[in-house]
Symmetry: C2
DNA sequence: ATCCATAATACTGTATACAGTATATTTAAT
DNA sequence: ATTAAATATACTGTATACAGTATTATGGAT
């Protein structure tokens, strides 16, 4: 099964990566014409990608004034985190019981995460994957898509934070406690711990952002 | 303060209204070229609107095959409703105490709703406005935007349902009970009732969709 | 030199053009 | 008559062109 995929999707990822990598400072204008020639495509798919990024909250867009990288705003982390916490809690609640194989994968990711220091991107990737594995059994695909989209915003903050911090690995203790609860089949506790995990993480990012 | 607004936004609303009005049957292809000439604009803003509608879950899009009106799917109502319930609950939880003036507006909307029979669009508008007033004090603007977007999906189902049903007005009892709880300052109960209201509504729409 | 006005530039939003692929239509074969 | 192949049409995805507005640069007045 071969599937041609629209240019705009590839362009979307490229631009998104650039933003999360932090290679344009907040306030920078992203000019479609510049991006287009830099990526070797026309303005059309670039604008489609930019429009979507703006809708997704990753970029600011003002009529007649194009697109720009938004500032890191502590209120935005809070808002996004609140949404993500609620959505992930919902996803976990409505998942069927997680098979042991999945729980093992979670533990394995935690192990990798513990041994990862300094490499911000890898840290964020592993953290992302942990959450994705945790929720992948949720039957509500729309919900999972929504979560994935919103995670792009929080990911930008996480990466900026990790790059800025002295190379401290993310604590995996909350992960482990969630895994334990799930092993015991105690879903409500797992959900509560997940929410708590989110709240703490957001607070940390907020504190750093407002520094 | 004058604000020029992009054509794509106006086109977005036009197309969305058409879909919700149900004037193209599920499965119908929406051709940008046809819409463009029908609306008297070029393909560009039309495609931008279609792309967004697809992202919002209002349309199906397949590479090389354009856009089409998706079928009414009982699983989709369920998924959307679950998300909306959680999001609205969150929004209500994180709202400051509602001023009496707002509670009066809610009651007023309920009164109007009770006296509205037969006119599906007006019913849906009032129902939408009720939820919007309920949540408008929530400080998380991102959350409110997300809710508004997702409501467009559920609105399509609601309108289809209302058009099909013998002209029965929507029950306003749940609304009233929520209003009461809020008047007493009992937020947790209000949130619980709101969730319950959603769950019942979804069940009804699901049952009708799967008929 | 600083500030404002004016002109030049550049970029955004929209329209149109083009190429390749899916869909529809016609024609031929069983 | 029904199905299959082949051709024609039409539509999508992408590129380019155009018009109008924001931004920057330039020059003159204070």
């Amino acid at each position: 099964m071969i599937h041609r995929s629209p240019l705009r999707d590839e362009v979307y990822r490229q631009i998104l990566d650039g933003i999360q990598r932090g290679d344009s400072a907040p306030g920078t204008r992203l000019r479609d014409t510049a991006l287009a020639s830099s990526l070797g495509v026309s303005r059309t798919p670039v604008r489609e990608a930019l429009l979507r990024l703006a809708r997704d909250g990753v970029l600011d867009a003002d009529m007649g004034r194009g697109f720009r990288v938004p500032p890191l705003d502590s209120r935005e982390v809070g808002d996004t985190g609140q949404i993500l916490g609620a959505l992930e809690a919902l996803a976990l609640e409505s998942s069927p019981e997680l098979p042991p194989e999945l729980l093992d994968r979670l533990a394995e990711l935690d192990r990798k995460l513990e041994h990862t220091r300094g490499d911000a991107t890898r840290c964020a990737d592993l953290e992302d994957e942990w959450h994705q594995v945790l929720l992948e059994r949720c039957p509500n695909r729309q919900l999972l898509d929504l979560i994935a989209t919103h995670r792009q915003i929080s990911r930008r903050y996480l990466l900026a934070y990790l790059r800025d911090s002295t190379p401290i690995a993310l604590s995996t203790l909350p992960h482990q406690k969630i895994g334990e609860s799930l092993r015991k089949g105690d879903r409500p506790t797992a959900v509560r711990l997940l929410l708590q995990h989110w709240r703490r993480g957001i607070e940390e990012l907020q504190a750093w952002t407002a520094r």
